[in-house]
C-alpha cells in the first residue's frame, strides 16, 4: 500500500532537493504535487487542505542554511505532518478491565469486520497470551455467523453460538455471561455491516454499545475507500464512542488515504492494519513508520520485529554456532532459511518494508514470487542427505535424478546450486568479525538513498 503516494512524493521532493533554497515558488510547486498525490491517494479533501496549509506554514518559516539542505528540511516537515495526522505513537488495545474485556466491531458492509475479529483473536492469543471468545451479533447477512464459527475454529478462539432469531443486544449480553463462565480474558463482538445513513441500524449499534459498555469499540474501514471514508467515519463517531480504527485490506495497492482521513476526522488512533487474507495478517499500526514508508524511507523496524517473532530461534542459534565453528553453510541450512523466509510472509512482504524498494519497477517486484522459493525447497527435498551436506558431489547424473524427482529441469537445479553458493559466500562474510555492518553498508550502496537520508 501507499506505493504510489510514496512514489509521487519522492519524485516531487527529489525535484526540490536539487534546488539551492526553499522559495515560496518552489514550495508552491511541491505543495501542488503533494495535494494531487494525496487526492489521488483518496485522502479526504478537507484533510488535504489542512495538511497542505500546515506544511506550507512550516516550510516557509524554515530558515535555510542550517544543518539540513532545503530539500531535506522539506521532507522532514512533510514527514512530521504525516505523523501528526496519523497519530503520534502506536496505540495498542486497552484491555485493562474486569474480564472479559469486551471489544465491539463496527463498520460498513464488506469492510472486513469478521475477518478482523478472527485476526484480532489470534493476535491477542499469540502475543498477549489472552484467552479470547468471539460472538457474532450479525443476524442479517446470510451465513455471517457460520463464517465467524469457521474462523474461530481456525484460530482456536472460543466461539459462542448465536442465531438469527435473537436480538443483537440479547446475543451480546448472553455472550458476556458465557465468556465469564469460560474465564475468557477478552470477548470480541462482531456486528452486521451497516450504512452510516441507516438510522435504524445505527440506533441498533448505539443501543448495543450502551448495553454492553465495551472497553474498545473499533471502526473497521476498507483501505480502498474513497472520499466517503470521511463521511462514514464522522457518522460512526457521532453515534458511537469509538476508541480506535482498523484499516483493512491494506495489503493491496490501495494508497490508503482513508487512514489519514479517518484518523484526522475521528481523532481516534488507527490501531491495526489488515495485511492479508491469512489470520496472522494483522499488524500494529505505527504512524511514524508508515510516514517513513510513504516517503520512501522504508519500514525496517516492522521487519525486524516480525523477524524476531517468527524466526525459529533454536534453529537460528544452531546455525550461528555451526558457522562460528567454521562449518560450512550447507543445503539443509539453505532450506531452513527458505522456509523461514516463507513464514515471514514471503519476500514480497519483506521487500515492501525495505528502504528504497518501492523504486523497483512493478514488474520486478511481481517477479519476486514466493512460488520460486517453494520450488527451491522442493529441489533440495529431492536430494539425499549426503548431497545436502556435501553439494560438491552433485554431478551430471545426480542433477538429472534430482530434477526428475522434484519435477524441475536440470537448469533449475543448477540455478539453485549457484544461488546456494552465493548465499554461502555471504554467510562467510557475515560470520567474520564486523561482517554484518560491512554487508549492510554494501546493501545501502546498492539502492538510491531515500530522500532526506543523511549519507
Amino acid at each position: 500500500m501507499f506505493d504510489s503516494l510514496s512514489d509521487r512524493l519522492t519524485q516531487t521532493l527529489r525535484g526540490i532537493s536539487g534546488k539551492a533554497r526553499l522559495t515560496e515558488e518552489n514550495v508552491a510547486d511541491a505543495l501542488r504535487d503533494v495535494r494531487m498525490a494525496l487526492l489521488e491517494a483518496d485522502v479526504a479533501l478537507p484533510v488535504v487542505r489542512e495538511f497542505i496549509e500546515k506544511v506550507k506554514t512550516a516550510a516557509l518559516g524554515t530558515v535555510v542554511g542550517t544543518q539540513l539542505n532545503p530539500g531535506e528540511a522539506f521532507v522532514k516537515i512533510v514527514h512530521a505532518q504525516l505523523v501528526a495526522v496519523m497519530g503520534e505513537a502506536n496505540d495498542g488495545l486497552n484491555l485493562a478491565t474486569t474480564p472479559p474485556a469486551v471489544v465491539l466491531m463496527a463498520g460498513l458492509q464488506g469492510a472486513g469486520k469478521t475477518t478482523t475479529v478472527a485476526k484480532l483473536a489470534r493476535y491477542l492469543q499469540e502475543r498477549d497470551k489472552k484467552k479470547v471468545a468471539v460472538v457474532s451479533a450479525d443476524v442479517y447477512r446470510p451465513a455471517a455467523i457460520d463464517q465467524l464459527e469457521t474462523l474461530a475454529g481456525e484460530v482456536g478462539a472460543s466461539f459462542i453460538a448465536s442465531s438469527q432469531d435473537e436480538a443483537p443486544l440479547a446475543i451480546a449480553e448472553r455472550a458476556i455471561e458465557e465468556a465469564k463462565k469460560q474465564f475468557a480474558d477478552v470477548l470480541i463482538i462482531d456486528t452486521a455491516g451497516r450504512l452510516a445513513i441507516d438510522e435504524g441500524m445505527m440506533n441498533e449499534i448505539r443501543t448495543l454499545q450502551a448495553g454492553v459498555r465495551p472497553i474498545e469499540t473499533l471502526f473497521v474501514v476498507d483501505a480502498m475507500t474513497g472520499q466517503d471514508a470521511a463521511n462514514t467515519a464522522r457518522a460512526f463517531n457521532d453515534v458511537l464512542e469509538l476508541t480506535g480504527v482498523v484499516l483493512a485490506k491494506a495489503d493491496g495497492d490501495a494508497r490508503g488515504g482513508a487512514a489519514l482521513s479517518v484518523r484526522h476526522i475521528t481523532g481516534k488512533p488507527v490501531k491495526f492494519l489488515g495485511m492479508g487474507e491469512k489470520s496472522d495478517a494483522l499488524e500494529p499500526f505505527h504512524p511514524d513508520r508508515l510516514a517513513s514508508r510513504i516517503l520512501g524511507m522504508g519500514d525496517v523496524l516492522s521487519l525486524i520485529e516480525e523477524a524476531e517473532r517468527k524466526v525459529d530461534k533454536k534453529k537460528a542459534q544452531k546455525l550461528a554456532r555451526k558457522l562460528s565453528r567454521g562449518r560450512k553453510f550447507d543445503l539443509e541450512d539453505f532450506r531452513d532459511q527458505l522456509q523461514q523466509m516463507a513464514s515471514m510472509g514471503g519476500v514480497a512482504n519483506m521487500l515492501e518494508k525495505m528502504p528504497g524498494m518501492n523504486q523497483l519497477p512493478q514488474g520486478a517486484q511481481a517477479q519476486l514470487d514466493d512460488g520460486r522459493f517453494k520450488q527451491m525447497s522442493v529441489i533440495i527435498d529431492s536430494m539425499t542427505p549426503h548431497e545436502r551436506r556435501f553439494p560438491g558431489v552433485i554431478t551430471g547424473s545426480r542433477k538429472q535424478r534430482i530434477a526428475r524427482g522434484s519435477g524441475m529441469a536440470v537448469p533449475d537445479v543448477n540455478r539453485l546450486l549457484k544461488q546456494h553458493k552465493q548465499v554461502q559466500k555471504m554467510m562467510k562474510k557475515v560470520t567474520r568479525k564486523g561482517g554484518m555492518q560491512k554487508m549492510m553498508r554494501g546493501m545501502q550502496g546498492a539502492h538510491p538513498p531515500p530522500p532526506g537520508a543523511r549519507r
Binding site: 483518496d42 451465513a143 457460520d146 450504512l195 476498507d222 480502498m224 472520499q227 463521511n231 495497492d253 490501495a254
Partner: protein
C-alpha cells in the same frame, strides 16, 4: 410475482432516487449553491464546483478535464450564469456516462455463463442472489456456482440465496478448486437444461498476482466446455471505492477480460463518482465497458439497470419524477 414486488418495480425511480438522494451530499450541495439565485459565474463558483467533483471521487484527471471544458465555455461567455453552468455540467456528465450504458442481455447459449469477480467485500455474493431473482422473473432458469471456496462460509451464504430463490447451487467444500466447481456447474447446467449459470468467485486484491492467475485458470477451464464461455465477466465495485477502482478495472481486465461492471451499495452515503473517473479513463484507452447494474438497497429488487441520465440527475439533485431526465 407478488403484489409487493409489483409495487416496488413500479416505483423504480423513487427507489433509485431515494437511494441516490442520500448520496447527493457534496455534489448536490456544491451544485445546489451554484443554482441559488442565478449568480454570475466567477472563479469562486468554478472552484466550488471543482471541490464538489473531487469530493465525489471523480478523481484528479477527470475533474481537470471537466473543469477545463466548462471554464473554456465560461471564458467564451457561453455560460453566463450558474443555471447555464449547471445545465452544461449535467449534459457533460451524462455524455461521459452514455458510453457505459448497455442493457444486460442473456443470449440463448446453453448455458449462458456469467462470472462475478472483484476485491474482497464488494458484494459479489449478494449481487448474484439479487440477479438470480431478477433473471428468474424474466423466465430464465438459473444455476449458481459457489466458486468462492476460500472465504469461510461463502458457500453457505450462496446456498441461503439459492434457497430464498429456489435455485440450485453447485458447491464443493471450502478449500476446493474454484475452477472445478465452476466447471461442474456449467456441465450440470447443460445437462439439466438451465439457461444461466451465475458463478461466484473469491474476493481478491488485484495486486495479488497468484490469485489473479487463479482467475485466469477458471476462465481457461470453463472455455473448454464452450469456446464462448464465460459470456459475461462482471467486475463488482463498491460505490464507496476511491481511485483504487481504476486499478481494479485495469488489473481484472488484464487478467480475465471483463465485459461489464456492477456498482453496489449506492444506497449509502457513497456517490460512486468514481464512475466518471472510470469512464474518462476507458474513453482515453478506447475501451468500452458497460455498467449493467447498480445496487440501491438490501432487498432482492434493489438491483437496477444502470441509466446514466437518472444517475446524473439524482447526483445533481434534479427532479427525476418531474421528467427532466433528458
Amino acid at each position: 410475482m407478488s403484489e409487493a414486488e409489483e409495487k416496488n418495480e413500479g416505483s423504480l425511480w423513487r427507489r433509485l432516487k431515494d437511494g441516490l438522494s442520500k448520496s447527493r451530499g457534496a455534489l448536490a450541495e456544491g451544485v445546489g449553491n451554484l443554482l441559488l439565485g442565478e449568480k454570475e459565474v466567477d472563479e469562486s463558483v468554478l472552484e466550488e464546483l471543482e471541490t464538489a467533483l473531487l469530493l465525489t471521487d471523480v478523481g484528479v484527471d477527470a475533474t481537470q478535464d471537466i473543469m477545463a471544458a466548462l471554464s473554456q465555455r465560461v471564458r467564451r461567455r457561453e455560460l453566463n450564469d450558474t443555471t447555464a453552468l449547471h445545465a452544461a455540467l449535467a449534459k457533460l456528465l451524462k455524455d461521459m456516462l452514455v458510453p457505459l450504458a448497455r442493457p444486460f442481455a442473456v443470449s440463448d447459449a446453453k448455458p449462458f455463463v456469467v462470472f462475478f469477480v472483484g476485491v474482497n467485500g464488494v458484494g459479489k455474493t449478494t449481487t448474484i442472489g439479487k440477479l438470480a431473482r431478477r433473471l428468474q422473473k424474466e423466465g430464465k432458469s438459473v444455476l449458481l456456482a459457489a466458486g468462492d471456496t476460500f472465504r469461510a462460509a461463502a458457500v453457505e451464504q450462496l446456498k441461503v440465496w439459492g434457497e430464498r430463490n429456489g435455485v440450485d447451487v453447485i458447491a464443493q467444500d471450502q478449500g476446493a478448486d474454484s475452477a472445478s466447481v465452476v466447471y461442474d456447474a456449467v456441465q450440470a447446467a447443460a445437462a439439466r437444461g438451465h439457461g444461466v449459470v451465475l458463478a461466484d468467485t473469491a474476493g481478491r486484491l488485484q495486486a495479488k498476482t497468484n490469485l489473479m492467475e487463479e482467475l485466469k485458470k477458471i476462465r481457461r477451464v470453463v472455455s473448454r466446455l464452450d469456446d464462448e464461455a464465460p459470456h459475461e465477466v462482471l467486475l463488482v465495485l463498491d460505490a464507496g471505492v476511491g481511485q483504487n477502482a481504476l486499478g481494479q478495472v485495469e488489473e481484472f481486465d488484464a487478467a480475465i477480460m471483463l465485459s461489464g461492471l456492477v456498482i453496489t451499495k449506492l444506497d449509502g452515503s457513497a456517490r460512486a463518482g468514481i464512475l466518471f473517473a472510470i469512464a474518462h479513463k476507458l474513453k482515453k484507452q478506447g475501451r468500452k465497458l458497460p455498467v449493467y447494474f447498480v445496487g440501491v438497497g438490501e432487498s432482492v429488487e434493489d438491483l437496477r439497470p444502470f441509466e446514466p441520465g437518472a444517475f446524473v440527475d439524482a447526483l445533481l439533485a434534479l427532479d427525476i419524477e418531474g421528467g427532466q431526465s433528458s
